[in-house]
C-alpha cells in the first residue's frame, strides 16, 4: 500500500514537471532540455534554504524563481542570440550542473532532519484525520505522513493546473499561446514574440524546478544527478495524457497530463515490483516515447496503403 501511495504522490509531484514540459513542448513546440537542469536547480535551491531553517513555502517559491531564471536564460539564448533551440537548452543544462554543485556545495544534501514540506504535510494530515497514529484504509496501514503528503500534493497540483489554465485565458496567456501557434500572426498584432517565448520558458522551467524541489523534500534528499532523463519522463506523461483525453481542448489536455504523469508512475512502480531492473528504467521510458512519436506516422502510412483516409495526430 505504501508503495502505491508513494507512486501516486511522486506521480503528482512529477505532473508539475509534465505541465512544464507541456508548456514548452506543446505550447511552443520547443524541445526544451533545460528541464533536466532545472529539476535539480529547484531541488538544490530549496534544499539549501531548508537546511538553513527557512520556511518550506519560501523554499518552494525560491525554487520556482530559480527555475524561471534558468528558463529565461534558455529563451534569451534562443531568441536574442539566435541559438538553435536544442543547443540553447543543452548549454543551460550543462552550465546548471556546475551551478547546482556550487549551490549545494556537495553532490547530495540530506533533508531528513530539516523542516520541509513533508513535515508540514504530516501536520496537515494529522489535522484532517484528527489523529497522529497510522491510519487504517481498507485494511492497509497508512502512515499519517504519507496520507498528508498525498493530499497536500494533490492540492498543490490542482492549484497549479487551475492557475495555469486560467492564465492561458488572459490577454497575456492567449498571446503566449498564439506565439507558439503562429508567431507571424501575433507579431502582426503587436506582440513581441521574443518576450513571450522567454516568459513562457520561464514559467515552464519554474514549474519544473518546483517539481524538483517537492521531489527532493518528499524523498528526503537533493541529489545533483536527479534531473537525468526528466525531460523524456515529462514528455511521456504529456503523450499518455493526450492519448487518454483524445482531444485538443486545453483544459482536457492539461488535466490529462496530470493523470498521465500519475498513471505512468504507477505503471513504472508495478513494473519494478514485477522485477524490472531499475537500471533499464530510462531505456524503457525512451523506448516508450519513441514508440509514441513514431507510432502515429507508421499507423498513418499503413492506413494510406490500404486506401483509407489518413488519421491520427502528429506528435
Amino acid at each position: 500500500m505504501s508503495l502505491f501511495l508513494g507512486a501516486l504522490t511522486i506521480g503528482l509531484i512529477l505532473s508539475l514537471l509534465a505541465l512544464g514540459v507541456y508548456m514548452s513542448f506543446r505550447v511552443f513546440k520547443f524541445p526544451d532540455i533545460t528541464a533536466e537542469g532545472s529539476v535539480t536547480f529547484g531541488a538544490a535551491v530549496s534544499a539549501v534554504l531548508l537546511v538553513q531553517g527557512m520556511d518550506p513555502g519560501i523554499s518552494l517559491l525560491a525554487a520556482f524563481a530559480a527555475g524561471a531564471v534558468a528558463g529565461a536564460v534558455t529563451g534569451i539564448l534562443h531568441t536574442k542570440c539566435k541559438i538553435n533551440e536544442l543547443l540553447a537548452g543543452i548549454l543551460v543544462m550543462t552550465a546548471l550542473y556546475s551551478v547546482n554543485l556550487h549551490v549545494m556545495g556537495k553532490s547530495n544534501i540530506p533533508l531528513v532532519d530539516a523542516k520541509s514540506t513533508s513535515t508540514v504535510a504530516e501536520k496537515i494530515g494529522a489535522w484532517i484525520f484528527g489523529q497522529t497514529t497510522d491510519l487504517n484504509w481498507f485494511g492497509w496501514e497508512v502512515s499519517i505522513r504519507d496520507a498528508g503528503m498525498l493530499i497536500s500534493m494533490f492540492a498543490v497540483v490542482a492549484a497549479a493546473a487551475f492557475i495555469l489554465l486560467m492564465f492561458f485565458q488572459t490577454n497575456l496567456g492567449t498571446a503566449i499561446r498564439a506565439t507558439g501557434d503562429n508567431p507571424q500572426m501575433i507579431r502582426a498584432l503587436g506582440v513581441d514574440v521574443d518576450i513571450m517565448m522567454i516568459l513562457g520558458l520561464a514559467i515552464s522551467n519554474g514549474l519544473i524546478a518546483l517539481a524538483g524541489a517537492l521531489l527532493a523534500q518528499y524523498q528526503g534528499f537533493a541529489d545533483v544527478q536527479m534531473g537525468i532523463g526528466m525531460m523524456v519522463w515529462g514528455l511521456a506523461s504529456v503523450i499518455i495524457g493526450e492519448a487518454l483525453v483524445g482531444s485538443n481542448k486545453q483544459g482536457l489536455v492539461v488535466t490529462g497530463t496530470v493523470i498521465g504523469s500519475v498513471l505512468f508512475r504507477l505503471l513504472v512502480a508495478i513494473a519494478l515490483r514485477w522485477g524490472l531492473n531499475p537500471n533499464d528504467l530510462k531505456l524503457i521510458t525512451a523506448l516508450f516515447v519513441f514508440a509514441a512519436l513514431v507510432g502515429p506516422t507508421i499507423g498513418r502510412s499503413f492506413m494510406n496503403k490500404r486506401g483509407n483516409q489518413p488519421s491520427g495526430r502528429t506528435v
Partner: protein, 270 residues
C-alpha cells in the same frame, strides 16, 4: 499619412544571389488613399509591403507613418499603427485557438496585454455583432478552432481582425491569391466595404488586373525594385485592365530584347 522616401533594400549583398529588391522607392499616401501595387513576379511589390510592415529594416531611406518615423521600428511596434492581411490564409490566424480567441487577440493590437480575461462579456457580444456582418454564419461557431475553417473564411476573419481597431494603415498582400474565385470575390467585396466604411489608408498588392482597375484610387506598377508607372488622379480614371496588360507586355518585350541583344553580343565577341 504614409511617406516612403528613397528606400532601398538589397538581399544577400555581395553574393551570387544578390537581389536589388528595392531601389530608391518613394511613395506618399494621403489619409484615405487606397493604393494598388501591381508588378511581375520578383518586381518588389511584396518587398515594398514588407518594408512598410517591418518584416526587415531597409538599407537606406526613410518611412514615416502618421507623423512617426518608423524606419527603425521593429515589426511588433509598427503593428500598433498597421493592420495586415497575408497572402497565405494560414498566416493570419492561430489555428488551434478558437475564433473568439483569435479576435480577442486582434482587439488588443498594439496595446499592452496583462492579466485581464481575454474574452470579457462586453467583447463577446461585440464579437458576435461584428462577425455577423461577414454573413458567413460564423457567429454561432465562436468556440470552434480556426483550423477547421476554409481559406476564404479565414481571410475574411483576418481582414476583420486587421481592421478591428481602426489601423492608420492597412496592408493587403495578395490576400485573395490563394482562394477559389467565389471566396476571392466575397473577400474582395468585404475588403471594399471595410475600407470605404472606415476610410482606411490602404496599400494592396495584387496580381489581378481586374482588382487593380476596380479598387482603389491609385495604381503603381513595379519592375525590378523600381516604380515604373504611377496612375493617379485623372490618369487613374481612364485606366482599363487592357492598358495595364499592355504595359506589362511592353516591359516584357523590352526585357526580351535586352536578353537577345546580350546573346548576340556574346556570340559576336566571345
Amino acid at each position: 499619412m504614409l511617406e516612403i522616401t528613397n528606400i532601398s533594400k538589397t538581399f544577400h549583398p555581395g553574393s551570387v544571389n544578390e537581389v536589388f529588391a528595392l531601389q530608391n522607392v518613394s511613395v506618399t499616401l494621403n489619409d484615405g488613399d487606397f493604393l494598388i501595387i501591381i508588378g511581375t513576379n520578383g518586381s518588389g511589390k511584396s518587398t515594398l509591403l514588407n518594408a512598410v510592415a517591418g518584416s526587415f529594416i531597409t538599407d537606406s531611406g526613410k518611412i514615416s507613418l502618421s507623423g512617426h518615423d518608423i524606419t527603425k521600428w521593429p515589426e511588433h511596434k509598427r503593428a500598433s499603427l498597421i493592420g495586415r492581411v497575408f497572402q497565405n490564409p494560414f498566416s493570419g490566424t492561430a489555428p488551434t485557438m478558437t475564433i473568439a480567441e483569435n479576435l480577442s487577440l486582434a482587439a488588443k493590437r498594439g496595446k499592452p496585454r496583462g492579466f485581464n480575461w481575454a474574452l470579457d462579456k462586453q467583447l463577446q457580444s461585440e464579437l458576435r455583432d461584428r462577425i455577423r456582418t461577414l454573413n458567413m454564419g460564423l457567429e454561432d461557431r465562436l468556440g470552434n478552432a480556426i483550423g477547421s475553417l476554409s481559406g476564404g473564411q479565414r481571410q475574411a476573419l483576418t481582414l476583420l481582425m486587421a481592421s478591428w481597431l481602426k489601423p492608420d494603415l492597412l496592408l493587403l498582400d495578395e490576400h485573395t491569391a490563394a482562394l477559389d474565385p467565389k471566396s476571392a470575390d466575397q473577400v474582395i467585396r468585404l475588403t471594399k466595404e471595410i475600407i470605404e466604411r472606415d476610410r482606411l489608408t490602404t496599400l494592396m498588392v495584387t496580381h489581378s488586373m481586374q482588382q487593380a482597375v476596380h479598387l482603389g484610387n491609385r495604381i503603381i506598377m513595379m519592375h525590378k525594385g523600381q516604380i515604373i508607372h504611377d496612375y493617379k488622379g485623372s490618369t487613374r480614371q481612364g485606366v482599363r485592365s487592357e492598358d495595364l496588360l499592355h504595359r506589362f507586355e511592353e516591359v516584357r518585350r523590352r526585357e526580351q530584347v535586352d536578353v537577345r541583344v546580350a546573346e548576340l553580343l556574346q556570340r559576336m565577341y566571345v
